[in-house]
């Protein structure tokens, strides 16, 4: 009798397991590749965001998979060439998007979007950066435009206002730069300069404004010549270089300082201004105290303001075997209610109209507020094949040589122009 009872129990348990397994495997797996600025983001997004979706959609199981930032570009590109990318990819720049699109790696989303109830809830400027060749390639979800952080306590102490123009910026930087203890050494500097790879974003915010009205912030004109050969661009570059070479309002290591070093310079109180995006506001306020840090829009240059949009998109890959299900996931993730949760976890700025209605945090937080405001003065980096070379080597190498006096600012502009033109 006991033996029979045990057999029935074992059989029942096995049946449950098999049923569970069947139900699990019956759901469609949708994988989302994404890089993350912090290791815990993937875990939080899966648990706090996607878990809700998976619960409401038992026939679909979506999950984020972390891709290291350093290899994300190659991984996405090569997987599209070889035909085995994830169903959905999240990436940070339309430059990559243009490459993926040219490869035929992205699924056009026009047919999905035209009947989508949330399409009019996304900012127009975000949609502007979401099409190639007249077709929608991805859904914009997050933006990280650069703006200007400043030491509010120092500004108050010196009785100065945050700068609105390039000229005010220099004036303020000079006032902050000081030898505080009279030992002949400068103890603090006005501006945190980033000369290593990635520093071109801040540099462009001082050069691109002069190329905004006539050239729409393009790197290369239709005739194939780089806009950096133009006199107004050269003048803007010269002005920026002189912050280091002539006015000495930047830290002496600025020529080769990268992200980590510039964050350290600002957080340790060596410099009074830093250009960065909203996702670093947490560490900065933790180090300096929220009251001691302010944020303003990047200064205007000759009446114009421009900084790269850093528009992040979700895309469906053309190789995905579950495009309909992928759209279910993607449209849910990018709905306003979920987009604000996503951006809060990812420390980005949503591209939703009236974002404060969905989460007042994005209006109340001074850094998010500036980030949203900065959006209207952003530009899309012109997607050129040579842009990778420009970012990786042409700009940092030539900018560093210029700062160290090995080449002139004009020679720098000639060299980076050649690189952009593909010569």
């Amino acid at each position: 009798m006991n033996k029979r009872k045990n057999m029935l129990t074992v059989t029942f348990v096995l049946l449950i397991l098999v049923l569970g397994a069947t139900l699990t495997f019956a759901s469609t797996e949708i994988t989302i590749w994404s890089h993350f600025d912090a290791p815990e983001h993937a875990d939080r997004l899966n648990k706090e965001l996607l878990a809700k979706f998976n619960e409401a959609h038992p026939d679909i199981h979506a999950k984020f998979e972390q891709v290291p930032w350093g290899s994300a570009h190659e991984k996405y590109l090569i997987s599209m060439v070889t035909g085995n990318p994830a169903d959905i990819i999240f990436y940070p720049t339309t430059i990559w998007g243009r490459e993926f699109w040219n490869l035929g790696g992205l699924e056009p989303l026009d047919n999905y979007v035209k009947n989508w109830e949330n399409k009019d809830k996304i900012l127009d400027v975000a949609w502007k950066y979401s099409t190639f060749d007249g077709q929608i390639f991805g859904i914009p979800i997050m933006t990280l435009p650069y703006y200007l952080y400043y030491r509010a306590d120092w500004f108050e102490e010196l009785g100065i206002e945050p700068p609105k123009t390039r000229e005010e910026f220099l004036s303020v930087a000079k006032k902050i730069t000081a030898d505080l203890d009279g030992d002949g050494k400068t103890d603090r500097y006005g501006y945190t300069l980033r000369g290593a790879r990635g520093g071109n974003v801040a540099w462009e915010s001082f050069v691109m404004p002069v190329l905004k009205k006539e050239y729409d912030c393009k790197y290369v004109r239709d005739n194939g010549d780089s806009t950096f050969r133009l006199p107004e661009a050269r003048e803007a570059n010269q002005w920026f270089v002189e912050l280091f070479t002539k006015h000495k309002v930047t830290q002496p290591t600025g020529a080769t300082d990268g992200f980590a070093e510039t964050m350290q310079v600002f957080q340790s109180g060596l410099a009074g201004m830093l250009q960065q995006h909203v996702s670093v506001s947490g560490p900065i306020t933790k180090a300096l105290g929220s009251d001691n840090v302010g944020a303003v829009l990047t200064p205007t240059v000759k009446g114009n303001r421009a900084t790269t949009s850093a528009m992040h998109h979700f895309v469906i890959t053309s190789a995905s075997k579950h495009k309909e299900e992928a759209w279910e996931v993607l449209s849910w993730l990018t709905s306003p209610e979920q987009a604000v949760v996503f951006n809060k976890i990812r420390e980005g700025t949503p591209v939703i109209k009236n974002v404060g209605e969905y989460d007042p945090y994005f209006i109340e937080d001074k850094f998010q507020r500036i980030s949203v405001e900065q959006l209207s003065d952003t530009f899309l980096s012109q997607p050129l094949e040579t842009l990778g070379t420009f970012f990786e080597s042409a700009w940092p190498e030539n900018f560093q040589k210029t700062l160290l006096g090995e080449i002139t600012p004009d020679e720098m502009m000639d060299n980076i122009s050649k690189a952009l033109e593909g010569k």
Partner: protein, 312 residues
């Protein structure tokens, strides 16, 4: 009867021959799995790299992927001014790093070969730089050299050696020497341990005989230590030259080849090409050029040494 015996003899010889053949083939069969694995892991990537050097292989132009490109990649390399900058920097980096490791490694080995209390512990501790992961070592030294907060600057300033902090990695003049110093710190323990093993193989009787003959320490060093250590020196230097010439992580983490191109070596240039323009064919061509230079250099080095009468 005669035929029977002949038949038996032939059969025995055939059996012997068959056994001989089996025994001859057996070692190859036994090492075949290892050879095949090594071949796949080593030979396939190398041959793929060589093939790529003669092809189009840019992931931004997938339509041309794998198409034959003749020697155009090599023409591009030899007409690229940056190739020569990177080559010059590679020679500077390898010469400075390996030279420093040789001298310090020899001194270290001579010291560790002496008897003193705690020698075993010291021999273990000196290995720490060698076993520290490259990325970690590079990051640590990057912060040590930092021109705003670095420990090196702080010590030099505190001892009155400098008045103002030096941005070691932000100046063309000091960046490469700074990186070379870090590489010497990292590589010296390996060289020292290799030389120590060589020193310990030298028979003590030779030194005793030299003592009897009245030789001083320098004479013993030149006439006994160096000649008998030479085979180890050669092997160690060859290994260090190859490893240092191929290094990417230490340089890229510390300077990314900057400031400007002052620390841009060939492997770092290859890495930047792959990351920036995704032109794997061009990167492979640069790598092949480096491989060729190393192979030729090592060949002539070994040939020269053998002609000098050193057997190893």
């Amino acid at each position: 009867m005669k035929k029977f015996v002949t038949g038996l003899f032939i059969k025995a010889r055939l059996q012997e021959s068959s056994k001989y053949m089996r025994e001859k083939k057996l070692p190859y069969l036994l090492i075949a799995p290892a050879l095949i694995s090594a071949g796949i892991i080593i030979l396939y990537p190398i041959s793929k790299g060589v093939m790529m050097a003669f092809q189009h292989y840019n992931f931004l132009k997938p339509g041309l992927l794998g198409q034959f490109n003749g020697v155009n990649n090599f023409i591009k390399v030899f007409s690229d001014p940056k190739f020569y900058i990177a080559l010059k920097n590679t020679l500077y980096y390898v010469g400075g790093s390996v030279g420093g490791q040789f001298f310090l490694g020899l001194i270290l080995a001579l010291l560790l070969n002496r008897k003193f209390k705690g020698r075993g512990l010291v021999r273990s501790i000196v290995l720490i730089p060698w076993v520290t992961p490259g990325v970690l070592a590079a990051l640590m030294w990057k912060w040590l050299y930092n021109g705003n907060y670095g420990l090196i600057n702080w010590l030099l300033s505190d001892f009155g050696v400098i008045k103002e902090y030096i941005p070691f990695l932000s100046q063309t003049l000091t960046a490469m020497p700074a990186v070379i110093l870090m590489t010497i710190w990292k590589g010296t323990p390996f060289v020292g341990i290799m030389f120590l093993a060589g020193l310990q193989a030298i028979p003590a009787k030779l030194y005793e005989a030299a003592d009897i003959d009245g030789a001083n320490w320098w004479q013993k060093f030149i006439n006994i230590t160096i000649p008998l250590l030479t085979p180890i020196i050669i092997i160690t230097l060859i290994l260090r030259i190859i490893w240092t010439a191929n290094d990417v992580e230490l340089l890229y983490v510390m300077t990314e080849g900057g400031p400007g191109t002052s620390t841009l070596t060939l492997p770092v240039y290859v890495y930047k090409i792959l990351k920036g323009s995704l032109d794997y064919a061009y990167g492979a061509t640069l790598a092949m050029c480096l491989m060729g230079i190393l192979v030729v250099s090592v060949y002539f080095y070994i040939r020269y040494v053998r002609k000098s009468g050193v057997n190893f």
